[in-house]
């Protein structure tokens, strides 16, 4: 069980890294892009980049707020 936990922790750290909210925002961006493209029939090429940039800014803000 402990080995399984450390195996899972390794892959979490490898893929998700220091800020899980980045992963959430990227997945949300992809979901919104898919919905806009397939349901609303909008070629939403701009949606994912917007989420990606927002994720970067948000993550940096969280990492640096209240430091120093």
């Amino acid at each position: 069980m402990r080995r399984l936990k450390s195996f899972g922790a390794f892959w979490y750290d490898f893929i998700i890294g220091d800020d899980w909210q980045v992963a959430v925002l990227v997945v949300a961006g992809l979901a919104l892009t898919a919905i806009l493209t397939h349901v609303a029939r909008v070629n939403a090429w701009w949606a994912l980049p917007a989420f990606v940039f927002a994720a970067l800014v948000w993550s940096l803000h969280r990492a640096t707020a209240n430091k120093r």
Partner: protein
Amino acid sequence: MNALPLILTVFVACAVEAIEALTIVLAAGITREWKSTFQGMAVALVVLAIITAAVGPAIASLPLTALRLVIGALLAIFGLQWLRKAVLRATGYKGLHDEASAYLREVTAAETAARESKRGVSDWYAFTLSFKGVLLEGLEVVFIVITFGASQKNIGAAVIGAAAAIVVITVTGIAVRAPLTKVPENWMKFAVGIMLTSFGTFWGAEGAGVAWPGHDAALLVLVPVVALVTAACIAWLRSREAAAAVPAKKSEVVGS
């Protein structure tokens, strides 16, 4: 898409990982014993080959749309991690990655560890240090090769980029017999973060059903835009830092 951007991106990304693995291998080999170090390295390479052989074909057999959706998401998340660290390093919120101090840390730990023979390996510490270093850095190489190669349906080009990086770094490491401290590793990490994020965003959106304006040429716009946004983030954090420092100075003057 032309294979050259793919090869170059994989080359730079894998070179960064190879430099980090080389630092660990050199620390183990020079401080402890080369035979056990090479054994650890060889076993790690075999494990990496098994992982690649098992995962690579399975991923490559997925339909391209699903593949790009999953790989795009993984690469974008992975790339953003690199960018985040690079920006934090560039603005002083995180210490710069320094191979010389990383090497010294490994050497100090290796010098104090006890010598123990185990399972036919004369120096177990050197073996495990080298095994872990090569396996962990190698996993990132495998990840980059498989994701980039499978998304472009050109695993061969990705392997060429990775193999070239490993050969160049290994040969240079053997020639200088020291960690490659002169390589601008922090800037390379910056470039890799930009490329991983750009390719991840491009493939992820394609996988979600988007048709990019200009098709593959959209990447020629996306990469500089990601670089610009990253540069803007650095400027933003620096200006915030400077703004926070000004009232502090004023209060010092008032106080004096």
